[in-house]
Subunit: 132 residues, 2 copies
């Protein structure tokens, strides 16, 4: 029996449609606001402005049946295995975004630097950045 | 309605118990084998030895009710918000592991470099590494 994801919050962004999304990561992406749900607010009490974190989102509009796809915006290329791409259309559409925290408020509102994610995208985790 | 995760494969590792786990990431962690389930094998056809990828796992033994916890192995420290830690005990116990592919076989067996994950841990995604 496979487990359900829990949504810990959601994103508010100026990107309202997929067509508004920049091609990759921080490139021209707008700042976004994360609204943490009340039952998870204690979990963010040690986040602070200036920290670099890894934000995980659930790309809720994705097609989860995709196993092979075109490389991003390159329809002349051959189909690739989805696990060699960062396509949002994949069996588990988890977005992994390195971001910088700009502000955190006690009522669970976090502002972060540029991020390619649509308005209303569910947030599923926040972690310290990976050490190399 | 919150969606279910799909397991795309599982890990075979010499780490059979939590007590066997190295403290963080690659430090002394053993090579592991990933067994991709038949229905997802087409998705790995473009993975190859030498590639660096981000492996996402579902830490299936985690306590998903944890919102605050001790920093890892530091029981004198104050409780921290879980989203400032890499504790496996968290609402969505997703492991994010940068690894190097050592080999890939046509029947869905991938060997990767050092990784801190228990034997039988479900695999949920493989992505190209993050660009900085």
């Amino acid at each position: 029996m496979e487990p359900a994801i829990k949504f810990i919050g959601k994103i508010q962004s100026a990107l309202k449609n997929i067509e508004d999304c920049p091609l990759q990561g921080a490139e021209n992406a707008p700042e976004v606001t994360i609204i943490i749900s009340p039952e998870f607010i204690e979990g963010i009490k040690d986040l602070a402005a200036g920290q670099e974190v890894l934000l995980l989102t659930w790309l809720h509009l994705a097609d989860r049946t995709v196993i092979k796809c075109y490389p991003w915006h390159n329809y002349d290329a051959p189909f690739m295995g989805v696990f060699s791409t960062r396509s949002p259309d994949r069996p588990n559409p988890i977005g992994v975004h390195p971001v910088k925290i700009l502000s955190v408020s006690a009522n669970g509102i976090i502002k972060v630097s540029g991020l390619e994610a649509l308005d209303q995208t569910p947030v599923i985790d926040i972690k310290p950045v990976l050490k190399k």
